[in-house]
Amino acid sequence: MTAVTIAYSWPNILVFAAAAVLVLVGALGVITFKNPVHSALSLIMTLFGVAVAFVAQQADFLAAVQIIVYAGAIVVLFLFVIMFLGVDRREHVHVEPFVAQRPLAALGALITVGGLIALMAESHWVTGVKSVSSAGTALATGQANVRQLGTAVFTTYLFAFEATAALLVIAVVGAVLLARRERSLASEEGDE
């Protein structure tokens, strides 16, 4: 019987461990802190962990985008809104008015996760079968990650790219309209 030697190099395992710890601790922090600001900071920790995982998987560009967009812009936006609505609004986490909500939620989450893991365990997707789809291009051809990603986005997924550009514009306009105060009824509404 040939022994299966685990040939992972130690640095990779350490990197994975670090990423995993950051992700899980941050996630647990998001869902347990009472203060929303604390939750937002935990979220940043998770995002960092995910960025580390990206780098370990040769998705350098995406790791950078993750930090810049997610941690840098989205979480900042969260913090702005928290400040806007009042930072000391605490939620009473210990009382749950819906009796069955927590157990059922836990049950649902456990079944989903367990099922996903079971699916992965039983399928052949994790054996490194190379993609034969025409839409895919080989990753490990030695080109820079950014160049590969750019080529894909600007040729194969061009339409999606243009659509998301339009989406961003719409989102910005929508957000401005939604958050606006109603100046036309200023005489009846008081200043808020």
Binding site: Q101, L104, L107, A109, I111, T112, G115, L119
Partner: protein, 623 residues
């Protein structure tokens, strides 16, 4: 011949159509004369057809009007069968109808529904002719139903009287019960022989097993009891006297009630196959004749006496059919049409003269006031009592002679009934025309007046026919008796060939004696009194409590069932079921509604659980 015979049938229908369409533009006498005229012309056409038939060698002509039903193996043409039996029926139906139409012009004068009366009268004659002339059972059934519905309309002519409308309903419902029999017979015959025309059925009657033949005969008997008012479906006829007197005369004496007997005689080849069926027919006829005669002795209404008398006389006819004496039955039918119509029209004349009074206790001594009604009524009375040489003696004697040859017990019953017949008819005659005057308060002191010529002329003609009608069957008057004329249409004729002349004279003597006994008894009792509780017991007066019996056994239970259906089945079960279903849906939707709690987290939880289910399904499929 085809055209003339078609005219017989269609002329009354033409009259009906003319009065229906143009009636509002016609005055009373125009309507009356048109209606009477078409029936009279129909009679003339019948006579012509009769003469033509006599010269026809084959004595059986089928006149096809049009092809009616043609479905799969069922071929039913709308066709007429002209043969001795149908032409005999046509002759007396159209003849008597014409006389009664003429009578009605006078009797119904001034009625507000005059036009309606003649409409229904003409339609009735058309239906009766269709019944009689048809060459197949389905066309007969059309006429059968037609006379039933016209009878219903005419009996409930004075529909604002509760009693009249109930009587109409009763007549129609009893008829319909009988119709089940005719339908059952049709189904049986069609399933065994594949055809419904009379000639076709008779040709294939050999394929009927005795059981099926008996069933068919019993079914036909049921139909006949319904239409001809025999036991067990006879108690509609007395109630039907609520209709105007011409209606009673035509429908319930001369024509519709004979339809049942006609049907049985027409189907004689099938009757020939079932001796138990014929025995049943004979017993029913005999028993009905006796029971009705007993009831008639105790009635206090002049028309009711005549109604029960009709039931009794038809009982004789059915009895004759049962023993196979079809010729005698038809002979009695024809004679009875004459003198019973005469008696009814005469009673109508009496009622008319007394301003509508029908109670015998308020009549009496009318002899000197009604110089034409009295003698004609007298002739009718003598005829029905069986006094020679009037028609009744010959006809009833013929029937009883044939019965004697087959069943002595039924013959004794027949003779007893004859005594009773003479008795109650004589009682009627004495109470009406002899004895003391009891009508002064009804006529407010005036003398009763005789009826106009339109009413008395038919009386005279019918009286003449009652006198001479016996000649139809006497072999020594003309070379072809009625019986012989009709014999080609019969399937089974019981042989009475060996009746010696002595026994025939002996039986005739018994008949005369019976009539005289009844007559004498009635005269002696009723000349001096007009009311006697012991002689008119309420058991007999109330129809042997037959109506009460049916009410208790059929009427009340059905009523309870109806109430039960209304309260329980309709309200609780059906409504409950439907409303319950609706309520159940509402309740369940109230429950389902709780899912829409409005809380985002509930919805999110539902989605998460749904996702979990999908994941489990995928794992199960892959694994």
């Amino acid at each position: 011949m085809a055209h003339v015979s078609t005219l017989i049938l269609l002329l009354p229908l033409l009259g009906f159509a003319v009065v229906l369409i143009n009636g509002k533009n016609m005055n009373e006498s125009q309507i009356g004369y048109v209606a009477t005229g078409v029936v009279g012309l129909s009679f003339v056409a019948s006579v012509i057809t009769f003469v033509l038939l006599l010269h026809d060698h084959h004595r059986q002509v089928t006149v096809q009007l049009f092809n009616w039903i043609d479905v799969g193996t069922l071929h039913v043409p709308a066709a007429l069968l002209i043969d001795p039996l149908s032409i005999t029926m046509c002759l007396f139906v159209t003849g008597v109808s014409t006389l009664i139409h003429l009578y009605s012009i006078g009797y119904m004068h001034g009625e507000k529904d005059y036009k309606k009366f003649f409409l229904y009268f003409n339609l009735f004659v058309f239906s009766m002719l269709a019944l009689v002339l048809a060459n197949n059972l389905v066309f007969t059934f059309v006429g059968w139903e037609g006379v039933g519905v016209c009878s219903y309309w005419l009996v409930s002519f004075y529909f604002d009287r509760d009693a009249a409308s109930s009587a109409g309903k009763k007549a129609f419902i009893y008829n319909r019960v009988g119709d089940v029999g005719l339908l059952a017979a049709m189904f049986l015959l069609f399933s065994r022989t594949g055809t419904l025309t009379y000639i076709g059925v008779f040709e294939k009657s050999g394929t009927l097993t005795p059981t099926v033949a008996t069933l068919v005969v019993l079914a036909l008997l049921l139909a006949a009891t319904g239409k001809s008012a025999q036991i067990p479906l006879f108690n509609w006829l007395p109630d039907a006297m609520e209709g105007p007197t011409p209606v009673s005369a035509l429908i319930h004496a001369a024509t519709m009630v004979t339809a049942g007997v006609y049907l049985l005689v027409r189907m004689s080849p099938v009757l020939a196959l079932s001796s138990s069926g014929r025995m049943t027919i004979a017993v029913i006829g005999g028993v009905t004749a006796f029971v009705a005669a007993t009831i008639a002795t105790s009635q206090k209404d002049i028309k009711k006496v005549l109604a029960f008398s009709t039931v009794s006389q038809i009982g004789y006819m059915v009895l004759a059919v049962g023993v196979g004496a079809y010729g005698a039955a038809i002979f009695l039918m024809v004679g009875h049409a004459f003198y019973k119509a005469l008696l009814f029209l005469g009673s109508g004349s009496v009622i008319h003269s007394l301003n509508g009074e029908q109670d015998l206790r308020k009549m009496g001594a009318l002899r000197k006031f009604l110089p034409l009604t009295f003698p004609t009524f007298l002739i009718g009375w003598l005829a029905i009592s069986g006094i020679p040489p009037f028609a009744g003696f010959w006809a009833k004697g013929d029937v009883l002679t044939n019965v004697f040859a087959h069943n002595k017990a039924l013959w004794v019953l027949g003779v007893v009934t004859a005594i009773l017949t003479a008795y109650y008819m004589s009682r009627l005659f004495v109470l009406t025309f002899r004895g003391t005057e009891r009508f002064r308060e009804v006529t407010h002191g005036h003398d009763p007046h005789e009826s106009p010529w339109m009413m008395t002329t038919p009386l005279v003609i019918l009286a003449a026919l009652s006198v001479l009608g016996g000649a139809l069957a006497l072999p020594w008057v003309h070379h072809d008796t009625l019986e012989h004329f009709l014999s080609s249409t019969f399937g089974y004729v019981a042989p009475i060939a060996n009746q010696s002349t002595l026994s025939q004279w002996g039986l005739a003597a018994v008949d005369v004696a019976a009539a005289l006994i009844g007559l004498a008894a009635a005269f002696s009792i009723w000349r001096s009194r007009y009311e006697d509780e012991k002689l008119t017991p309420s058991f007999l007066e109330h129809v042997w409590y037959w109506d009460n019996f049916y009410d208790a056994t059929i009427g009340r239970p059905l009523e309870h069932l109806a109430v039960f259906s209304d309260v329980v089945v309709e309200d609780e079960v059906i409504d409950g079921g439907v409303m319950g279903l609706a309520a159940g849906i509402v309740h369940s939707s109230q429950g389902v509604r709780k899912i829409q709690s409005g809380f985002v987290r509930h919805y999110a939880l539902a989605m998460a659980l749904g996702l979990a289910v999908i994941v489990v399904y995928l794992v199960a499929r892959v694994g």
